[in-house]
């Protein structure tokens, strides 16, 4: 222990401390604002710091999200039990319809294969999937992200597409050792290159923090109709082409709205698409081979 030198230091320190306490509010407000600026400018180092913090808390988030998921499943299964008969009827009808589609798909696949072999088409790079569980949502009105339980050691890389159920959910924006963060396609910062399946019109899908996203940079007279399917175009090489994204729900003067095919509010598990392309310059970390 250090010997306390004299009273004079304490006498000097006391007013300083009072001063610091007095201005701590102002200092902390300034620090917060400085942090906002730093976050805007130094986004790469902020991202890696963020990934570390998320990694550190991921085990706790994982543990406390399990009971909630279980409770939700119990409630859901009770509701499903009630509707079992109707659901069964509906599924039988749907199954009959799908069997017809299967015949069509098999025929098309065979035809496709034979035509490809005639044309010597280079096959698409192979696609691997990494499954992950959602352990946290931001709980904020202005941020649409998810934290999932897969990271660098599972093969997750920045920029990979995230799929759930019927379609695209978003894109990996930050990768930790065993956790990573997915930016939902409805977030205001999300931009995804897409193509409309009927008109073959290329566009950018942009979120605006609502439940639907909008299409940008379309020519004013493009013949787009409600109900048209939107898939990823693969432009930029980040996403494989043809991943289902959503369906056009409204065409008006104010823009074209797209409802995501995946139910973004109840994603429990998702698949990250390892597209097998060399990593882009979006991922400058040296250890991503």
């Amino acid at each position: 222990m250090k010997p306390r030198s004299s009273g004079s230091v304490i006498r000097l320190a006391a007013p300083l401390r009072a001063l610091a306490q007095r201005f701590s509010f102002l200092l902390l407000v300034l620090a917060s604002i400085a942090l906002m600026m730093v976050g805007k400018i130094e986004s790469v180092s902020v991202d890696s710091a963020r990934a570390r913090v998320t990694d550190a808390f991921a085990p706790i988030l994982d543990a406390i999200s399990r009971p909630a998921a279980t409770a939700a499943r119990v409630v859901e299964s009770a509701v499903e039990l009630e509707n079992a008969f109707d659901e069964n009827q509906r599924l039988k009808a749907e199954n009959a319809r799908l069997l017809q589609w299967r015949q069509a798909a098999l025929r098309l696949e065979a035809e496709n294969n034979s035509l490809r072999s005639l044309l010597r088409v280079r096959p698409e790079p192979s696609v691997n999937y990494i499954a992950a569980r959602v352990i946290a949502t931001p709980g904020s009105s202005f941020v649409r992200t998810l934290v999932v339980t897969a990271g660098k050691r599972d093969g997750v890389r920045k920029g990979q597409a995230a799929l759930a159920g019927a379609g695209l959910v978003g894109r990996v924006i930050e990768v930790g050792e065993w956790s990573s963060r997915v930016l939902l396609l409805t977030d205001i910062n999300a931009r995804i290159p897409v193509i409309l399946s009927n008109t073959r019109q290329r566009s950018i899908l942009a979120g605006d923090n609502s439940d639907q996203a909008k299409l940008l940079y379309l020519p004013p007279d493009s013949p787009i109709q409600v109900g048209e399917r939107v898939v990823t175009s693969g432009d930029g090489g980040l996403f494989p082409p043809g991943l289902p994204v959503g369906v056009v729900t409204a065409v008006s003067e104010r823009g074209i709205r797209v409802l995501p095919s995946a139910d973004l509010s109840r994603v429990e598990h998702l698949r990250l698409v390892d597209f097998g392309l060399p990593s882009t310059d979006l991922d400058p970390s040296p250890d991503s081979k």
């Binding site: 998320t54 988030l61 992200t145 923090n209 509010s265």
Partner: protein
């Protein structure tokens, strides 16, 4: 006078309770519930906790502590850094200045006081995000989040009173 080592450890541990509980609130607020539209309006439990401890134990919920918790929240939710830190520091400062009013009042008045703090927080958050994203965002989700937080305030407050009694009034 001469507290033993273990008594000191015990006291430090108890004094950490407000901080620990608030960090727990940050994490609990992030649990994904499969309810449509829940994530955008999940109640801001952290603010409730900071409000409660600033009124009852301002010595354990200092501006620096509020700042740290806000910073942790910023890191975890993936939004711009500094927004929640600013929010909690301002909330802590505002509540501390009116602390005598709150301390003497009934639970209903505490609730009204929290509603005012939450309204300020909604506005501040909306303003910060609109400036940082350089667009005018819709304030509606934040407003609903505020309403939901005000609605769960009695339940969370009751929980915090239990923690307060269990750890700090022994």
């Amino acid at each position: 006078m001469t507290a033993t080592f273990w008594q000191k450890v015990d006291k430090t541990g108890r004094n950490l309770a407000p901080f620990a509980v608030t960090v727990m609130m940050v994490l609990v607020g992030m649990i994904p519930l499969p309810v449509p539209g829940y994530a955008a309006v999940a109640p801001n439990l952290t603010l409730v906790s900071v409000y409660y401890w600033t009124i009852h134990r301002p010595d354990l919920m200092r501006p620096g502590v509020a700042f740290l918790i806000g910073l942790l929240q910023d890191f975890l939710i993936g939004g711009p850094l500094g927004v929640n830190a600013l929010l909690l520091v301002v909330a802590q400062w505002a509540v501390l200045n009116q602390r005598r009013v709150f301390l003497a009042s009934t639970f209903a008045l505490l609730w009204v006081g929290f509603t005012l703090v939450m309204a300020g927080a909604v506005l501040l958050q909306w303003l910060a995000f609109s400036v940082l994203d350089a667009v005018t965002l819709s304030i509606l989700p934040a407003l609903f989040q505020g309403l939901l937080t005000v609605a769960v305030f009695p339940a969370v407050g009751w929980l915090l009173i239990r923690v307060h009694r269990a750890f700090l009034n022994g």
